[in-house]
């Protein structure tokens, strides 16, 4: 196999160049070129503003996403496997997927106070339902004959789940997990912007109020970097788990 071009790097570089050019040509205050943003980012980093926020936000993200993942997989599998569970919970899952999580802020406040708890709750609200829905429909589309085969070898319900349903459903589940990670990051920042204004949310809100686009975009860059890191982690796991999937795609040889 010939050495692969690191595709992500190439397309990121292309994007960066495009940004710089558009930023320079447009010359509008709300879309500064990348270099300006980078300089701003360096300043903010030097001032120590970024690092503390990154650490804080990451903790929220990590806790929130872990809860989402566990809850999402458990509920998703139960809904995919048992129609009764789906009947009982389906409506609420879709409702909560749709509900703008921010409107639940008062309830989180009343339950969890205005600290970390509420922000983590927002992260969970953002990430869990996508994972549930994808997991449920992934489980439902596993070919019946594989389950039948496992049962013929005396597989218990647990074994059917762990050894057949989950592996077979992995590609779709991972698609959901990936969406979930992205949503968790969004939840993290929105929680910090619209509930208790702390960390990144604080910086963005403040800079936004000053129409300091460079700062907003600088923070956005950091958030996106964090998020891409998280998504790439998920994709690495995905590749390990779903390497077996025969290729439907073309142009891979």
């Amino acid at each position: 196999m010939r050495a692969r071009v690191p595709a992500a790097a190439v397309s990121l570089a292309t994007g960066a160049v495009a940004w710089e050019l558009i930023g320079r040509l447009a010359g509008v205050s709300f879309f500064p070129p990348l270099s300006t943003v980078a300089v701003r980012l360096a300043e903010m980093a030097a001032a120590g503003e970024i690092l503390q926020s990154v650490a804080d936000s990451l903790v929220n993200l990590l806790i929130g996403f872990t809860i989402s993942l566990v809850a999402g997989l458990l509920v998703g599998v139960a809904m995919g496997r048992y129609r009764k569970v789906e009947a009982a919970l389906g409506v609420y899952v879709y409702a909560l997927l749709t509900a703008p999580a921010l409107v639940f802020a008062p309830i989180f406040f009343s339950l969890l106070g205005d600290g970390r708890g509420s922000i983590i709750a927002v992260v969970v609200m953002y990430a869990t339902f996508v994972i549930i829905i994808n997991t449920a429909s992934a489980i439902q589309s596993v070919p019946a004959h594989l389950v039948e085969m496992a049962r013929s070898y005396g597989a218990s319900e647990r074994q059917v789940l762990l050894r057949v349903l989950l592996p077979a459903a992995t590609p779709m589940i991972m698609a959901g997990v990936r969406l979930g990670v992205g949503r968790a990051v969004t939840g993290m920042i929105n929680g910090e912007m619209f509930i208790a204004v702390v960390g990144f949310g604080h910086i963005v809100t403040e800079a936004g109020g000053r129409f300091d686009s460079a700062s907003v975009l600088a923070v956005l860059l950091v958030i996106i970097a964090v998020a891409l890191g998280a998504v790439w982690l998920v994709q690495a796991v995905d590749r390990r788990l779903t390497g077996w999937v025969p290729q439907t795609s073309r142009g891979s040889q």
Partner: protein
């Protein structure tokens, strides 16, 4: 099991849900947390008001156009990415960025570049929904049995026919999951843009009720929005059943 057989479970969870809401709100509720009964009452009242229906009408313009855009672009894009690995490797980063960028942070940018009219709202709804559609369509395409593609090619299917006759139906369950997720997200986007950028229609109503601390009306509005989302999602399920002819759970 028949669909009717599900009713007891649905009723059971509904009762648990309603009772715990009512109890919690009575014990711990404050200005911002209405009781279940108050909310139901307010919902019924709201449904009788012209204001709500006007707001629904205005909001849904953005929803319909934005969601149509998301599906029209998202499904083909997902299939392309699922089918052409090279392209996917380059586009992937941007899909991830689209997925994780907090839309709330770019709303001001959007407002400044395309204004505060219908266009901005439509674009935002589309951005909200499209990632779900793309990622799931792609996962669906990956799951299509490769020997079916081989078979279709052996009968002389061109790329277009492979899409419409093999990939699309084969990936349909996953695509429809993406579409259902997308509907949910689109409705969220529709409300959020109104809350954060142009406080018209439903978002405007919600801001007004929130500002006046009219919690029952606020949550009634939310309930009505969610009801709409659920309705659209069931329509999507119904369509899926029609489309495939097989029973979809």
């Amino acid at each position: 099991m028949t669909r009717r057989g599900h009713l007891p479970y649905q009723l059971l969870t509904f009762v648990i849900f309603a009772v715990s809401w009512e109890v919690y709100a009575r014990v711990r509720g404050g200005l911002l947390i209405p009781t279940f009964t108050e909310t139901v009452g307010a919902s019924v009242k709201l449904l009788g008001s012209a204001e709500l229906w006007q707001a629904l009408y205005a909001s849904n313009q953005a929803l319909v156009l934005g969601f149509a855009l998301a599906v029209g672009v998202g499904v083909p894009l997902g299939i392309v990415l699922g089918r052409f690995r090279t392209l996917e490797r380059f586009a992937d980063v941007y899909l991830n960025i689209l997925l994780v960028t907090p839309m709330a942070a770019i709303i001001p940018l959007l407002g400044m570049s395309v204004g505060y009219g219908l266009a901005a709202r439509v674009i935002l709804v589309a951005i909200f929904a499209i990632v779900m559609v793309v990622v799931n369509s792609r996962a669906g395409v990956r799951q299509v049995d490769p020997s079916l593609i081989e078979m279709a090619r052996s009968f002389g299917a061109n790329e277009r026919r492979i899409w419409t006759r093999v990939l699309l139906p084969g990936a349909l369950p996953a695509i429809m999951t993406g579409i259902r997720l997308g509907i949910g997200r689109a409705v969220t986007g529709m409300v959020l843009v109104e809350l954060l950028m142009v406080s018209t229609a439903l978002g405007g109503l919600m801001l007004e009720y929130r500002g006046l601390l009219k919690a029952p009306q606020l949550y009634a509005t939310i309930v009505i929005i969610l009801a709409e989302a659920l309705l659209l999602i069931s329509v999507a399920r119904w369509g899926e059943r029609k489309l495939t002819g097989r029973s979809v759970r």
